[in-house]
């Protein structure tokens, strides 16, 4: 079965030399090899990841190999690479490698162990916070970009206001009013089901027209929410929320995530606005694909490159935000170590024991830098056209 040869003269073509066949993984490795800085960023990122995971294993448990909270008051503020004074310590207090790799702090705790423990916190904060913000951002941006021209009816806005307001009032102990307002919602659903089957002519047309008029487009609604969110100075918003909520690493991740999705939303919306008019989207529609599949399989991969770049920068800034919060004393509660609170402890001894501020500072610098470099490289890898340049 080879009908092509009957009808088409294949010698019309100059046979192109076959491109070397590569899998996606090989392509990925090749690009990282070509783009030195991105490769370097990736390697550092990988090392950091290994450190964080092994650090988690080595510093947790009832008898950890590196104990970050072991206090040795006799050995406080020892410089890096100094040997422990074996005479002053009990045998179980001696550090594992028989050396303080990064010195000790004002309570004689081993800074190396504390850095290891903090690495995991930084990693999870970075990834979870950015994960939350990217998910929200892609979702909101995708809706605003693809369905932006659709309108929301006044009645739907009232419905949600009743829902939120009612719940809020019940929580604030105005139970009766809250329940009444909340009950308006099922009443409306019931009513609309009734009128759908019965005649709709009886009601006053003016009220109905007002309720069913197009209040606001989806695009306007979402983008104004974004504008409102951007108006808040987010670091102080985070400070307020963290002060109100119980201090926990998970609360911090969620709060950082919930206050940093606006940039991603704008990126994704802008990308969707231009991509949705492209011919390949029309072609996908003409092939009978569902809207869901068009959005997530055809438009999203085209829109995701700038999002990922901003996400890697977002990871860096989330780590910095966490460090900042810990530095101010609002972050992860002690005795758990993070790079931020090692730094904040160290500032009291910056002249006597500079390694307490240098070590976490340099670690943050290197990790943030590697993320940014890797993000740049990732953009090239995800875009098949840019890839050809290397």
């Amino acid at each position: 079965m080879n009908p092509a040869e009957e009808t088409i003269n294949t010698t019309d073509y100059v046979e192109a030399p076959p491109a070397p066949k590569r899998t996606r993984m090989q392509e990925f490795r090749r690009t990282l090899g070509q783009n030195r800085l991105a490769g370097l960023g990736f390697i550092i990122f990988f090392l950091f990841f290994c450190c964080a995971v092994t650090g988690l294993v080595l510093t947790s448990g009832s008898k950890p190999a590196f104990d970050p909270s072991m206090v040795r008051l006799e050995e406080k503020l020892r410089p890096p690479l100094s040997k422990p004074n074996l005479k002053a310590l009990r045998p179980d207090q001696v550090p594992v490698l028989n050396v303080y790799l990064m010195g000790t702090d004002d309570l004689g705790r081993d800074v190396f162990s504390r850095m290891l423990q903090g690495a995991w916190v930084s990693l999870t904060v970075g990834f979870v916070a950015v994960g939350i913000s990217v998910l929200i951002g892609i979702f909101m941006g995708g809706i605003a970009g693809y369905f932006g021209q659709h309108h929301i009816k006044t009645v739907h806005i009232l419905f949600f206001l009743c829902l939120i307001g009612g719940t809020g009032l019940i929580i604030a102990n105005f139970t009766v009013i809250g329940t009444v307002i909340l009950l308006l919602c099922p009443a409306y659903i019931f009513y609309s089901q009734l009128t759908r089957h019965g005649s709709t002519e009886k009601e006053t047309p003016a009220l109905k027209a007002m309720l069913h008029s197009n209040a606001v487009s989806v695009d306007t609604l979402i983008m104004r929410i974004v504008d409102i969110m951007l108006c808040f100075p987010s670091f102080f918003l985070i400070l307020t929320v963290v002060a109100l909520l119980p201090a926990s690493i998970y609360n911090i991740m969620i709060v950082i995530g919930l206050t940093s999705w606006m940039g991603t939303t704008r990126f994704v919306r802008a990308e969707f606005l231009s991509l949705r008019e492209q011919d390949f989207v029309a072609a996908a529609k003409a092939l009978g694909l569902s809207t869901f599949r068009i959005i997530f399989r055809h438009i999203m991969p085209n829109a995701v490159a700038p999002v990922l770049v901003s996400a890697t920068i977002g990871i860096a800034s989330a780590i910095l935000t966490e460090a900042g919060l810990s530095f101010l004393g609002f972050g992860v509660p002690p005795p758990h170590a993070t790079w931020g609170n090692i730094l904040s402890n160290g500032k009291n001894f910056i002249f006597d024991a500079p390694w307490l501020t240098f070590m976490p500072g340099i670690a943050i610098l290197i990790v943030v830098l590697s993320f940014n470099l890797f993000g740049e490289g990732l953009r090239d890898i995800l875009n098949p056209k840019l890839r050809e340049r290397y």
Binding site: M1, N2, P3, A4, E6, T7, I8, T10, D12, Y13, E15, P18, A19, K21, R22, Q149, Q278, D279, F280, A282, A283, A284, K285, A286, L287, G288, L289, S290, R293, H298, P301, N302, L382, N383, P384, K385, E388
Partner: protein
């Protein structure tokens, strides 16, 4: 779900009195204003007309791809194998698109998704409409690429669209449109963006595919040269209405509408060498402000006073040849396109 055998009285696709209007800034653009045409089984039907006369809009409305708002199908019906496509909801339309009716677009350079390999895109429609496993899909894709005449298809499967030439991309688009074995393929100016040699290859390919797969093609073009090479029957569109219809011979040899005559006269050919090329004066009217009466009368050399206020009826010349010009129908002194050309030149 559908009775797949068309009955004798209905052709495969039958569009009746279709009206598609666009609303913008309070103006109502009548892009398609009551057109009727039919596509029978194993037939190539061409819709010809200048840019902006509503060809693409009519094609898109067959697939239900008119963006609403601003567009709206105001009136008419589109009967495809016994089903009115306008009445179907989105879910049912998705089963028809790609599966029973497929479409090739004008710009092969942008109609393929730049981040996917050819294999991913070719398999997409098949995966959506049929159940098929990965290995069969791969073999099927290779066979499809073979059918549309792409050399070394195994290697091309892993290429990205930007690695292919324009002609190859259009072949991939055709392969995608063929992938579910549709009954009707709509080709919206598929050769406009390609150079002439590639255009000839693509036309040859379309003809051979049509014979092999016995499907119908609705071909939309502004190029009468292309149309003469491929069409069985031709509909000439102007300003949202059909002004002349008939088979290829009738349209090219006994042209009955001044607009079609003008189009034919403005085709360049060797016999006109050294002379100034004829062009129809004026341009297509803005669909929001169409002239009353015959929409072509401001540009027509045969126009008489009644053209300004009477909408022309279809005049039957027999054997399916119809034209919307009562003036030429009544006057015995019918002039062929060449004669008309001489008159306008002098």
């Amino acid at each position: 779900m559908i009775d797949r055998r068309p009955t004798n009285d209905w052709p495969l696709l039958c569009v009746e009195n279709l009206k598609v209007y666009f609303q913008s800034n309070g103006e109502r653009a009548r892009a398609v204003d009551g057109i009727s045409f039919e596509v029978r089984e194993k037939e190539t039907v061409c819709i010809v007309g200048e840019s902006g006369c509503g060809k693409t809009v009519s094609a898109l409305s067959i697939l239900g791809l008119i963006p609403t708002p601003p567009g709206e199908i105001v009136d008419g019906q589109i009967i495809f194998s016994g089903q009115n496509l306008i009445k179907l909801d989105e879910k049912e339309m998705q089963k028809i698109r790609g599966n029973h009716i497929s479409m090739i677009f004008q710009e092969p350079l942008t109609s393929l998704n730049p981040v996917f390999t050819i294999e991913d895109q070719l398999g997409e429609a098949v995966k959506t409409h049929k159940s098929i496993n990965a290995e069969e899909l791969n073999r099927y894709c290779i066979q499809l690429l073979n059918d549309v005449g792409i050399p070394s298809p195994e290697q091309r499967l892993n290429d990205y669209p930007h690695q292919l030439s324009g002609g190859q991309r259009q072949r991939v688009m055709i392969a995608m449109a063929l992938s579910c074995d549709p009954d009707l393929m709509i080709a919206d100016e598929p050769t406009t963006a390609l150079d002439v040699t590639v255009q000839a290859q693509i036309l040859k390919l379309l003809r051979s595919i049509q014979q092999k797969r016995s499907m119908s093609i609705l071909y939309i073009s502004h190029d009468l040269g292309v149309v003469s090479a491929i069409a069985h029957r031709i509909y000439v569109m102007y300003a949202g209405i059909i002004v002349e219809q008939g088979n290829t011979d009738q349209i090219f040899r006994s042209t009955r509408h001044p607009y079609t005559q003008g189009l034919l006269a403005s085709l360049p050919s060797l016999s006109k060498r050294g002379k100034r090329l004829y062009s129809i004066p004026g341009s297509v009217p803005n669909p929001a402000y169409k002239p009353a009466g015959c929409p072509f009368h401001p540009r027509c050399s045969h126009a008489i006073l009644s053209c300004q206020d009477e909408f022309p009826e279809m005049c039957d010349y027999g054997e399916g040849h119809q034209a919307r010009c009562p003036v030429l129908f009544k006057s015995k002194g019918y002039k062929g396109p060449n004669e008309m050309l001489k008159n306008t030149m002098s």
